[in-house]
């Protein structure tokens, strides 16, 4: 096993010990192959597919390759990089990942990969399938909404008698990880913590141990690389003498993104040099008076009015920018997508803890906008040109993006600016 072999990694010839794992060999030689399910060299799982590389012209997962003589491996071709991003996007579209409310945020491997890949939105529509949060186990919580089915826990966590604690059940799109209550009870405190720690996302939580580490000091809070965003050239506009016209709106959001907009303090003086606001809560102009260059959308679509406003924005603005988590993927309001509409209304107006005693009316009037069956991300209703993630996005970041789009400049985003939460 100790024989040294020569192989080519992205055109670079390197020496490595025969039989060693490709992901590790690449890492030692300064080539990063992203992974999610890979956490031990023995019996790699090969479930997440993110480490897909091209080996001698054929696609395969890097984590299951043992290096041998004369291997030709491609890691960072545009196609492979896009494949990896696509898989992360698919995982986001498939699960119900509300990063701003997740206990694992900042320690989450998948969130970090998404940052690194500069992911702002998924190319796939969100599936929003109803998944169970299981609070029944004695020590743990199984948050299926966040589970990416990497199988780490299934393979790694066993009781002393060798029985599985976590298991895959069902198949296909219905596949879930379930906890065996009886076996879970037999795990020691440290074994339970180990289960939580090897989970690359926030699906396995140990009760009472979730917020041990404060946000901001977490594993990926201080790491990361700068990202160069892709600029769509056709969208770049130059305007002579006249100011750029900007419109903003808040649909099903909390207005937090608009609050953030105002956080630039005195820089606003620079901005109004080049920008004029049209329809916006900032100007209190209620309806469009002219065609705008750029429209900023906060929040997703939860009711009929949101849809009308969004469609109006699409017509009146040349470029639409969705800013903030809710506009991009529905955000917190989209959590109601797993609850029947009737229950939502009853909770809000009749049975909720904050409703008045004796309340028995759900308001219904032609002037009241109608709730949609689901909360929709903006890009499922109209075409969106740019996305600024964050909850809320940083003020300077928002303006940097807007300015750069308007002036057609490229810029890089620092890791801090790009953080979602």
């Amino acid at each position: 096993m100790n024989k040294m072999v020569n192989l080519r990694l992205d055109g670079k010839t390197i020496k490595a010990q025969s039989g060693k794992n490709l992901v590790d060999v690449a890492k030692e030689n300064g080539i990063y192959i992203p992974t999610l399910c890979y956490f031990r060299e023995l019996n790699p799982l090969g479930t997440c597919r993110i480490c897909t590389v091209k080996l001698n012209g054929k696609h395969t997962t890097g984590c299951t390759v043992k290096v041998a003589d004369d291997m030709e491996v491609e890691v960072n071709t545009p196609e492979l990089l896009d494949n990896r991003k696509a898989i992360i996007e698919m995982l986001y579209a498939e699960g119900n990942h509300f990063c701003p409310t997740c206990e694992k945020s900042g320690n989450c491997d998948m969130q970090n990969l998404a940052y690194d890949m500069g992911l702002t939105v998924t190319r796939y529509p969100h599936v929003f399938s109803d998944k169970i949060v299981d609070f029944n186990p004695k020590r743990m919580i199984m948050e299926s909404n966040r589970c990416i089915l990497c199988k780490r826990c299934v393979e790694e966590i066993k009781t002393k008698a060798g029985k599985d604690v976590f298991s895959f059940v069902q198949r296909g799109i219905k596949t879930r990880v379930h906890i065996d209550y009886e076996q879970e009870d037999k795990l020691s405190e440290s074994e339970a913590l180990h289960a939580m720690n090897i989970c690359p996302v926030g699906a396995i939580l140990v009760k009472g141990m979730i917020h041990e580490q404060p946000f901001g000091d977490r594993k990926y809070d201080l790491l990361g690389k700068n990202i160069i965003p892709k600029l769509l050239n056709s969208q770049v506009r130059k305007n002579e003498n006249e100011k750029f016209i900007v419109a903003t709106t808040s649909l099903a959001g909390c207005f937090g993104c608009h609050m953030s907009l105002l956080d630039i303090d005195t820089d606003i003086l620079d901005i109004i040099e080049i920008v004029e606001f049209n329809k916006s809560p900032l100007t209190d102009i209620k309806s469009f008076t002219k065609q705008c260059h750029i429209g900023l959308i906060e929040g997703g679509c939860a009711n009929s009015e949101n849809v009308h406003v969004l469609q109006e924005f699409r017509k009146k603005c040349d470029i639409l920018v969705a800013f903030g988590e809710c506009a991009i993927m529905g955000g917190i309001p989209a959590m109601r997508n797993f609850v029947p509409l009737q229950e939502c209304l009853e909770e809000a107006y009749l049975n909720g803890v904050t409703t008045e005693i004796g309340a028995n009316v759900v308001p219904g009037h032609e002037d009241i906008p109608k709730l949609l069956n689901n909360v929709y991300p903006c890009n499922e209703v109209v075409k969106i040109d740019y996305y600024i993630p964050g909850c809320p996005p940083n003020a300077h970041h928002i303006w940097k993006v807007v300015k750069s789009i308007l002036l057609g400049e490229e810029f890089s985003i620092t890791h801090d600016e790009f953080k979602y939460d």
């Binding site: 008698a161 599985d164 895959f168 198949r171 076996q183 509409l341």
Partner: protein
Amino acid sequence: MPTKNKIDRSKLMSVLWEIQRKKRCIGHDDISKVAQKFNMSRMELEGVVTFYHFYHKLDCGKFTIYLNDCIVSQFSGREKIQKTFEKATGVKVGHVSEDKMFGLFKTPCIGLSDQEPACLINFQPFINLTPEKVISIIAQLKNGKKPSEICDTPKSTIHYTPPKNKTVFFKPYTCFSSLKQLHKHSPEEIIDLVKESKLAGRGGAFFPTGLKWQFCRQNKSDVKYIICNADEGEPGTFKDRVLLEEHPELLIEGMIYAAYSVGASHGSIYLRAEYRYLVSKLEVILDDYRKKGYLGKGIKAKIPFDFDIYIHLGAGAYICGEETALIHSMEGKRGEPGTKEYFPVEKGFKGKPTIVNNVETLCAVPRIFEMGVDKWLQLGTEKTPGTKLLSVSGDCENKGIFEIEWGMNMQEFLKLVGAKNPKMIQFSGPSGDCLSEVDFNRNISGEDLICGGSVMIFNDQRDLMYILKSYSNFFVEESCGICVPCRTGNFLLNKKIDKLLLGHAEKKDLVDIIEWSKIIKTTSRCGLGQMSSNSLNDAIQKFPEIFERSLSENTDFNRAFNLDHAIEEYDKIINEMTSDYE
């Protein structure tokens, strides 16, 4: 975990079958008991039970009816049959009657595509169904008849075999006659002959059989296994069923050759549950071989050896046709495909070197020895010598099996099968190629158009989009769920097809389909995901006019989003609630 290895998990599936058959479900208590017996956690066992769609956690009725859901069946009038079943039994598809008498379910292709509409009742076949026949079947069952007393015998319709002594499979065979070669040749010589014959995996992957055997032989081990893959699940295929019905002896002898060559002592036939009605017949023949000394201890040969064959019954999972998934299934696990870190010939069943061969591949071996490799090589083409079995169904005169010599022209083949106005031909099943007119001059051979066995013919009256939707449904249903590109990618493609069907699609949706398919293809773990989008992409290329018809120009507004539809539920609730107040 040494304690775990002592219990033979490979018995698990047959134990589960036993319970399912007797109690009509595998209930909570049974799962606990069986888990205890096999030293597994309850949830792990539940994972196994829920993976296979023929295992039920709730009572599936004294008579469990499985209607074939494949596209050929749908075009043969399954809708009417389903309605009649629903009326006669009083239950909707997917449900069980209140008295637990009837359970009515759908299942993918049951290997009777030439005799559709067909169904299985307690795994007994009923073919060429008509509404009248359905009513009579249900009446008889209600009157206390057993399904096994009134079921049909599926026909083995062999429409064509090559002329002039060129037939390989479907001609009379004298049992044991080829086995004399065992006395003449050493295992190495047998492997050399198989290599020379260029025989390749007839399940559809066409991996050279001789090479596979050689690799397995080279791997030293105390135990080795031969597995026959009789899990033909590709919609439209039924050639293996016909082989198992007509020439099971060829299969057994093929397995004996394989065992002798690689030094294996254990053999299994992984039979799909849809073919459970073949088990008793197979058992009889296996016993015959045991009695004659061709199976069991000390089989006479140049180098005497031990070998026996057992039947392992699947439980409904297309993915188990993939060899590593099949091995996991035999080990009593979820039928998830492996990582390809090792080939089965290195570490297969129970971690030992294993050969997995298709029924047709194994059946070919004794025939090759019988006729001699030289004569076999004269048949067919350079790359693919010999003949090939094709299962033909759909819009044609002659549905059934065609044994053709490799190299036959498509045009000639279509004439043989009596295809009526063929517009689209699905070659090698939904994961294979979608052929149009432009392909009708090609040849069926390894050099040109290779085929695993399924040929479905669709005429110009059929709705292509509907066919593609049916394929997509199948892959969504049968994806094992272990990797995201296949699990969710196929689901998302399915939604795109919906968009096309509803006329909401724009040009960019077609670009999405092509790009997404490529991602699914390159990143999926096994053949299912790598092939599932083939026919959709083929169709886009070959029938652009059909797609263009349902596409509109790109707009800034998503037409799939319908505000009226989105507020419908709200209106209904508010109307109900406000009427309560009054």
